[in-house]
Symmetry: C2
Subunit: 232 residues, 2 copies
């Protein structure tokens, strides 16, 4: 559809803008939250404008890359004026999905799972955890931070009661990571935020985001060891 | 130094093995925790051996890549026998630093900070949080999960009392992320695990690992939106 393509490239109406957004390269998408934080900081400090050079210096990214990344979300700086910080905050906040409410279920109320249930910070970024699921008799039927814990066998019923829940947060032990994933997908979960260090397999069309704290820890430990060796 | 290089390439004594380890490409290093989880799972299920093909199928990585990644840590599968799962668990656990105790201070006892203080799971992967730091009068002097909270101004004294602490976990608001980082580095912290979405600047030689949950959330939201559009 050439007309659609043209719309996408030049901006076009709302839906085309979203389609355009899907074409952002992942490295650029990963940098957008940095620009958002920086713009929020400037805005809080009373700065109404910022140049790509300032952003580049502030966060340690090449300024041509900054301009390119921001152009993907239709933010274009004006010569000798730069970007409006308020507009940048609003556009990036919206684009990144932080202004919408996304509802999620959490699976595995162990150490990390319970910690995430108590972390109210996620709400500010558009994620509302509606319920937790576990199998432990001592947990099922209780609440953590006002969030009820159900038995994982009742997931289908809970999905029917909460048809707006599409995200599953996976904080189960590695032994049950795949089995739980299969069950989540069967019950209709579209996206899985996988905090386990286990690499889960999902059918095509299911979104998986791996956030293994342990893998990141290993990176820190390794770099520290290498630094020590270099200075020995 | 050609002799050293030779030692590194062929195995050599302990120190050379560690130096060798620093030469692992980061993508391989990032995959090692997946192999570890998979091997742990097999071991728990009573499997004593595993082939690279099995690992490849189990975690969705090409089998030649598996063999290459594992060869970096001197794990070499034997023809028609494969790898010993127990050896793989032991070697990877040690290599990734999970068997050592690394001690850390945590900065910013807000939602996420408090959650991490309560998360005992990190201990199993070699990270022991010794103390939390904040500025809020209501927090300073209290404990969370048996971990004491001190005022951030007392960091220098605490560093003297805990000379084995090298890692700082950063969970402060973005407004104070850079300022806190500067203070940490001044007080002698070598590595910063940055959970803020702010891109902190550090002097050369200081290790930074960014783990922004919000950036990962944005990736999920974006992919879900793209999937919705593709199916509209």
């Amino acid at each position: 559809m050439p007309t659609k393509k043209k719309n996408i490239a030049t901006g076009g109406h709302a839906k085309d803008k979203w389609q355009y957004s899907c074409m952002i390269p992942e490295p650029s998408l990963r940098r957008l939250p940095w620009y958002l934080s920086y713009a929020k900081l400037l805005q809080a400090d009373g700065h109404t404008r910022v140049s790509s050079t300032q952003i580049a210096q502030g966060i340690g990214v090449d300024s041509s890359l900054v301009a390119k990344d921001l152009s993907y979300v239709n933010l274009n700086g004006r010569t000798r004026v730069g970007y409006e910080t308020a507009e940048m905050v609003q556009v990036l906040d919206t684009f990144l999905g932080f202004t919408e409410e996304h509802r999620a279920f959490l699976f595995g109320v162990g150490n990390l799972g319970a910690a995430l249930l108590e972390d109210r910070g996620l709400q500010q970024f558009g994620l509302q955890i509606v319920a937790g699921f576990d199998v432990a008799p001592g947990l099922v039927g209780t609440c953590i931070g006002d969030i009820p814990i159900y038995h994982v066998d009742t997931l289908k019923e809970q999905m029917e009661q909460h048809p707006d829940v599409h995200i599953g947060i996976l904080t189960v032990p590695i032994q049950t990571a795949q089995e739980t994933t299969d069950w989540l997908v069967e019950c209709g979960i579209h996206a899985i935020w996988n905090f386990t260090p286990y690499r889960i397999a999902v059918p095509e069309g299911v979104v998986v985001q791996n956030t293994s704290l342990y893998a990141h820890l290993a990176l820190i430990f390794n770099r520290m060891r290498c630094d020590r060796l270099m200075h020995d």
